[in-house]
């Protein structure tokens, strides 16, 4: 069974929106906090870490893990909504 072309388009657009949202977080957590604004964030200290340093060496990795699983959940819901799951 294949879905209608309109539905396929709508599914793809929603998928792209979801990806853009998560990648924005991905960018801010790694490039934003770990590279571009690392000096500013280092002025803040959290749990013994300068915050920018923590994002660069650990925080971003935790964010990455959460992002992938959030994406998995969002997509499972989207697949069910458009009835394209297997």
């Amino acid at each position: 069974m294949s879905i209608s072309s309109d539905n396929a388009q709508a599914y793809w657009r929603e998928n792209l929106r979801i990806i853009m949202g998560y990648l924005a977080v991905w960018f801010v957590a790694s490039y934003g906090c770990g590279v571009l604004f690392v000096e500013e964030l280092n002025a803040i200290s959290l749990g013994g870490y300068p915050l920018g340093f923590w994002f660069g060496q650990q925080g971003s990795i935790f964010v990455f893990v959460v992002l992938i699983w959030a994406y998995v959940a969002s997509m499972n819901k989207l697949d069910a909504k458009y009835d394209v799951h297997e």
């Binding site: 790694s30 490039y31 770990g34 749990g47 013994g48 060496q57």
Partner: protein
Amino acid sequence: MSLDLLTYLFIGGSFVLYLGIAVWARAGSTKEFYVAGGGVPPIANGMATAADWMSAASFISLAGLISFIGRDGSAYLMGWTGGYVLLAMLLAPYLRKFGKFTVPDFVGDRYYSSTARTIAVICTIVISFTYVAGQMRGVGIVFSRYLHVDIDTGVYIGMTIVFFYAVLGGMKGITYTQVAQYCVLILAFMVPAFFLSAQITGHILPQTGLGATLESGQSVLATLDKLSVDLGFSQYTAGKKSTIDMFFLTVALMCGTAGLPHVIVRFFTVPRVKDARTSAGWALIFIAILYTSVPGVAGFGRVNLIQTINGTDNAGTEYAQMPQWFKNWENAGLLGWNDRNGDGKVQYAAGKAFDGKGKPAFDEADPRGELGQRLAANAVTGAEFDANKQPFANELYVDRDIMVLANPEVANLPNWVIALVAAGAVAAALSTAAGLLLVISTAIAHDLMKKTISPNITDEQELMYARGAAVVAIIIAGYFGIHPPGFVAQVVALAFGLACASVFPTIMLGIFYKRMNTQGAIAGMLTGLVATIAYMWYFVWGGGTPDQYFLGISPGGFGTVGMILHFIVAYVVAQMTPEPPAEIQAIVEDLRIPRGAGSAHAH
């Protein structure tokens, strides 16, 4: 039991396990050989991906690297994990839906061109060979350190083991062996990390331990910053690289990770599109366990090293008072002491204690000094130093790998932990080597023989070619392991640069830009390849100097520029040439919808 006996027992035992799995999971068809029959459960695939991904470099060298470069090491930590987010969202599910065996398969079919396929085959082979050479060397080094054999003999042993389970088992054998190897390597990394963290900070987890406060009342990181600056090094939590260089390097490592063929191919082995996303999630969890512990191990290792060497009064420690592990690793050539001021004390600060690259040139005759220390031919004479920056001249050479290798001894852990670390290092190197060799043999047998040169061969013949290609690939990899190319670090940077500038963008455009056609793809791939290779070539071999860097971007980060050029050129060329045929556009529409992935099919 003696350490040697325990080490033989642990490494030997792990080999029996790997070979047993290989015999149990041997491949009977090309589909089993290339993608493990497409039936690997996501958790198992996640573990296998993690073992495939974490090489001897991640296991042994990463903590040491960060220990010595501090915050700049963030580029590697973020780069080698953040790529999985890109894989999960931008590549893996669609490639799984597309349902072929290899990266060149996708490129060749999506761009309906055997030229594009051939370029992708060349990229795959070049990337995988540059990567595997380092792994075979790693296997040899690990064996030589723990089993007291030559590095060359170590490489031969590694080749034999990989031969058995890669050639027999193909992807199926490799996948289930990698699951076992992941368990061995993560245990081997975490056990000493927990002990070290608990001893130094009172926290079991190195993740929180690095933020802990020491007995002195200062945090670990503040202590590190102070120690580093006092000794003339740069501050641990401050960066030396420029922001733009850090940015480009991190992008190159992330997109390179997402574009490495041996990582991508792992997502062809799961049953459904949904499983491709899930297994990326599992893979990153398994990888993050090690990667988030690395900064802790790096930090504790460095504090421990500086305090052990320079003593509590920060004046150096008598050589005779040095702990046993210092002498063990001095004998292994990973530490070297040159008593420049002749006071009999070991002192560690910024600067070189040995000429050339700073590594002591110990020779076969192994001459010893009055105190029993090893003497090197290239010891720096005189004890000049900048008194404004540091309290004394540096007298020590420390190999970066020591941060992980010596951990169990530094923390006074029992011998079985040392043996476990040895087995873990071997597992890390072997699992990555096997994954890479499989990609090479698939590229040759499937993409080159079956798809390009002689399409009429049967499944059995193709399987035979695949096994033959695996044998040849092992021999070539072994050759590089015994005769390593110079500039190992730059060669690995090249692999990431090429993956970032060629493979990653071309797959992404194939999925997200329906209008992308053959001409655009070929022009883009060639632009990315040529730009990246030319830049690295010029700065590594062509005599280029850092002040000539384009916008201050070092060669390691130039893959990002190559990728940007790839996108621009591909887009412009695609606009000027006819759009792809309707059936190709229909394929792109189809791969965006999860349903109907079925099993990976052979067309």
